[in-house]
Amino acid sequence: MMALTKDEVQKIAHLARLALTDEEVAEYQHQISDILDYVAMLSELDLADLPPTAHAVGHLVAQQNVMRADIVAPSLPMDEVLHNAPQHAQNQFQIQTVLDDS
């Protein structure tokens, strides 16, 4: 019932930097709409008195206020830092020029 338009699917794809074919757009149009419909079932419930839940386990006391003391721990050695970098130079990650279109 909450059918997304093709444009909305294209926009979501762009935000995720995905290039979709027309067939894929049609497919995702259905899939994403179905997911939204499923989640929309929540709005059938009266949740006025329930505080918003930001985290799956955030309501458990043991999972609240998990913090660490401000203590320095060792960082990675350089060969491990750059190990997975497709390209690097001067101990830095080397990348293609980026046109910022965020």
């Binding site: 985290h55 721990a73 080397q94």
Partner: protein, 484 residues
Amino acid sequence: MSKYEAVIGLEIHAELMTNSKMFCGCRVVDSVEAPPNTAVCPVCLGMPGMLPVVNAQAVEYALRVALALNCTINLHNVFARKNYFYPDLPKSYQISQYERPLGIKGWLDIELENGETKRIGIRRVHMEEDTGKLTHLDGGGSLVDYNRSSVPLLEIVSEPDIRSGEEARAYATRIRQILRYLGVNSGDMEKGVFRVEPNISIRPVGTAAFGTRTELKNLNSFRVLADGTDYELVRQAAVLDAGRQVVQETRGWHEGRRETFSQRIKEEAEDYRYLPDPDLPPLHLDATWVEEVRAALPELPQAKLARYRADFGLSAYDAAVLTEDRTVAEWFETAVSIPPHLNPKTIANWVINELFRLMNESKQSIDDIRVSPAGLVELIGLVEKQTINNNTGKEVLAEMFASGQSGTAVVEAKGLAQISDEAALAATIKQILADNAAMVERYMNGEAKLRGFFMGQVMQATQGKANPKLVNQLLGQALNQAEK
């Protein structure tokens, strides 16, 4: 500009001076000086499977700021992911706060040039993480250094209450001073540890709707903030006067041409798709702890300044100079508190006129100097007891500053004690008058200003050590006698 009203809001980003990063144990290093990528780990490199854990000290620092800026504190804090693609952000999202920031609805009073006070609203103060740094290569491509990635960052967003470049400067300067008082940020704008970004628009006077805004970035001083903002206001007015539209964009400041230039046009509203970060459970601050942090806040600069004026009788200027830096203010207050409790104005004069001069000349900060508050009080005591005169006092202070010796030790070692021996001074004066009979003659004939010459001769003969009051008195007597 008279047809238009400026509407300016400031976003301030300030790194927090913790030892380790916001969500991992990597050391916070000087991102300008440190060798690239030497303080990084899987967490701040955004590697798969990493788990961030909040730095408790960063939360306390952020809380200090939110409290000092009179914010309402949200006890229930949620961290959110702000999604965007840019290589300075290895996770493709920045951990920030969105719906439940730490502080909201704060305010800060600023002083305007006409002496009036204006209250600027503070919309929110929230915690987030800084990003890495890109260096663009001449031949294309960029290098990325992630040392700065995940350094604790505070964002302070004002309401659009600011109306000019000067107000923007006054607000930002005051915020920086408060952060330094709180010991959470060095305020270094050159290194980008403290960054100010104004959002600027104009609207016809008397209208309520906001005009299209531009954002200024990469302003590395308060002067550039004020000049860039004022330039932008004039530019936007000219655009509207020409019947055109202001384009929503990010602009930079060109120092050589002294004008702003377009950096990036924002064609559509940003879509950051904020969502609660599932890696970070909510943070429930204990109300008791919040009150403990509030109680432990230092006296802030504006309260200090008011107290210096009311309790110490200092001028607005002197009080402002002494409260500019918290360490200087505390040094001064220590001096004031030491028996015999000299007049604070006297101490203020010595600090501002003499100590600051010596510090400027030697490029030392108050933390570096070898003169202690007690040392200065002792020295001023020597002057007040007339053991040395005022000018000798200044020389002694310079020597104390250079050698770290006490004032008394310098006076003894150099035989600088003031000569207050009446008989000896009278004899010196008699000799000088006798040696300068012609001058005495001219003085008798009405050249009253020659009295200064005799005074100078006496001071020279005593290497500046004579008690000037006594010399003045004895010289008067001697000249009177000569007249008879």
